[in-house]
């Protein structure tokens, strides 16, 4: 840790206020170029604590930066992780007001719902599949609080990895019935297919991202509780959205989920 407790509290309050008031800010490493990974997660933890203290419920976690190519580009060997609270959830088929957000983008994801706790270290694809109740399609709405998406990884982690909203829907299926690597993903915006990929785009296998999340939490004395929702990472590039857009995600064998923006 390079930051003192007061700085952590102040930065968490600042970033959460930006989120709640839908306004952007410069990346926090401009002010604190020496902050380290622990500082970044400490700020995120403080944002989580603030929310839970006000009555929010922790419903799950998310993984970001889950492509090997991007990790190599950024010079890291692990994805980044954030938390999800109940207020982030949007219901299937509903509308989301763009004015509540700063500059939203959407990412298609394979969502895991757990039936048993997962505690690292030592979690792998097998333990994740054993603890998974079912998988289903999910659209994550990311909304970095940083101006023009100009950030570095530590700033992103402190900002809860740009977490903003998510919607899950479609068909829930046991993971054992699917080959998650080759599961195809088609993202449509206003009826036009705009992004195509397959599950292996997430760390070679989406369950690998969940395993790394469990190991990351385990190293910090936490676990993924049973019944958690886990967004395993964007399978394609994030797609920018604006008011009036209708986004639909289709996943092979898992049906579709959609979200409208007004």
């Amino acid at each position: 840790m390079k930051l003192d407790q007061n700085s952590v509290l102040r930065l968490a309050e600042h970033l959460e206020n930006c989120e709640l008031q839908a306004r952007d800010t410069v990346k926090i490493t401009d002010e604190y170029p020496d902050m380290d990974w622990d500082d970044a997660y400490a700020i995120q933890d403080e944002i989580r604590r603030r929310k839970l203290q006000r009555g929010a419920r922790l419903v799950g976690f998310k993984a970001g930066l889950t492509s090997h190519a991007k990790m190599k580009q950024m010079g890291v060997s692990s994805p980044v992780f954030g938390f999800l609270v109940d207020s982030f959830a949007v219901s299937e088929g509903s509308e989301l007001a763009v004015k509540e957000l700063i500059h939203p983008k959407v990412e298609p994801e394979i969502v895991f719902v757990t039936k048993a706790p997962l505690r690292g270290p030592g979690c792998h694809v097998g333990t994740v599949l054993a603890a998974t109740d079912f998988v289903m399609p999910g659209i994550e709405v990311i909304d970095s609080r940083y101006r023009d998406f100009k950030f570095d990884l530590k700033s992103v982690i402190a900002d809860n990895t740009s977490a903003s909203r998510f919607v899950v829907g479609g068909r829930a299926k046991p993971a054992a019935d699917l080959d998650l690597r080759t599961l195809g993903v088609v993202l449509e915006r206003n009826g036009e297919p705009v992004a195509f990929a397959a599950g292996a785009a997430v760390l070679g296998h989406p369950a690998a991202a969940v395993a790394m999340l469990a190991n990351h939490l385990g190293a910090r004395g936490e676990e993924i509780p049973a019944g958690s929702i886990i967004l395993s990472g964007g399978i394609t590039e994030a797609v920018a959205v604006k008011a009036g857009d209708n986004v639909k995600l289709q996943i092979q064998d898992l049906g579709s989920v959609s979200l409208r923006f007004n």
């Binding site: 090997h68 190519a69 080959d179 690597r181 080759t182 599961l183 195809g184 993903v185 088609v186 297919p193 195509f196 990929a197 397959a198 599950g199 292996a200 785009a201 070679g204 399978i235 289709q250 996943i251 092979q252 064998d253």
Partner: protein
């Protein structure tokens, strides 16, 4: 105004000779700016006629320029097509000698094997499915007889849609049993996942691509025949290849295809 047939023949011959000698030509469009797309198809016919005269047989067709991104790059609003000849086809497990190619790149595709003729106009997606014996995962190894791939649409059309060779997987699957729109594709190069995609990447659906081809060929009086193999267009990024590379493409619900370059 259409180009005179002597020039058409001459350019077709030049491309054929470049193919045989594994040499490249300056872009045809840099020497003859007036070439239309129709002219380019006549040049392609000449190049193919030379190969048929040497004993090659037509065993199928290929569709190219099927993604929005590539259409935009070439400034066109529709795909193109070329002929598949028997001497272009490799099977799963065979190696492709690099010295038979000039500047190859690999595309992961879904190939259709027809059990009935498909003669446009008026071919619908339903007719395509009814006429399809099965689908196979395949690699098209595209190659260009034009310097450094500096192609305009007329150059690639004249050059048999930049077709090189292709490798067919060994699982033929009934298209009624899979959703070709959402099926995912994972491409690995030397064991590393380097690209993913999904069926919708080619014209919204591989079935739509085949219907487009049947209708386009129908207007030219060319049938798609029972038994032919038709390549429906690339589902993921183009992969540069070199001697020693080992590629594998896997399509969810169909199977995989692998190729080594020696």
């Amino acid at each position: 105004m259409a180009m005179d047939s002597q020039l058409i023949t001459q350019l077709g011959d030049e491309l054929y000779e470049a193919l045989m000698a594994r040499k490249t030509l300056a872009p045809l469009t840099s020497r003859h700016a007036e070439i239309s797309i129709e002219d380019a198809y006549r040049i392609q016919q000449q190049m193919i006629a030379r190969r048929l005269a040497k004993g090659a047989r037509v065993v199928g067709k290929k569709i190219g320029v099927t993604s929005r991104a590539v259409m935009n790059m070439l400034g066109v609003g529709q795909p193109d097509f070329g002929y598949v000849l028997d001497d272009m086809i490799y099977s799963e497990g065979q190696s492709v000698p690099m010295d038979t190619l000039i500047q190859p790149r690999a595309e992961g595709e879904i190939a259709f094997v027809l059990k009935k003729d498909l003669i446009g106009p008026g071919v619908t997606n339903a007719a395509v499915l009814a006429a399809t014996e099965g689908v196979i995962t395949c690699f098209e190894i595209v190659d260009s007889r034009i310097h450094d791939w500096k192609i305009k649409i007329q150059d690639t059309v004249a050059d048999n849609a930049s077709c090189g060779v292709m490798v067919l997987g060994d699982r033929l699957v009934d298209p009624r049993k899979i959703d070709l729109n959402t099926c995912g594709m994972v491409i690995e190069k030397n064991g590393e996942v380097i690209a993913t995609g999904a069926g919708a990447a080619t014209m919204g659906s591989p079935v739509t691509a085949i219907a487009w081809l049947a209708n386009t060929l129908g207007r030219l009086g060319i049938p798609l025949k029972a038994g032919e193999v038709v390549l429906s267009g690339s589902l993921a990024a183009l992969i540069p290849v070199t001697t020693g590379d080992n590629l594998r493409a896997t399509v969810g619900g169909i199977g995989s295809c692998s190729v080594r370059f020696v």
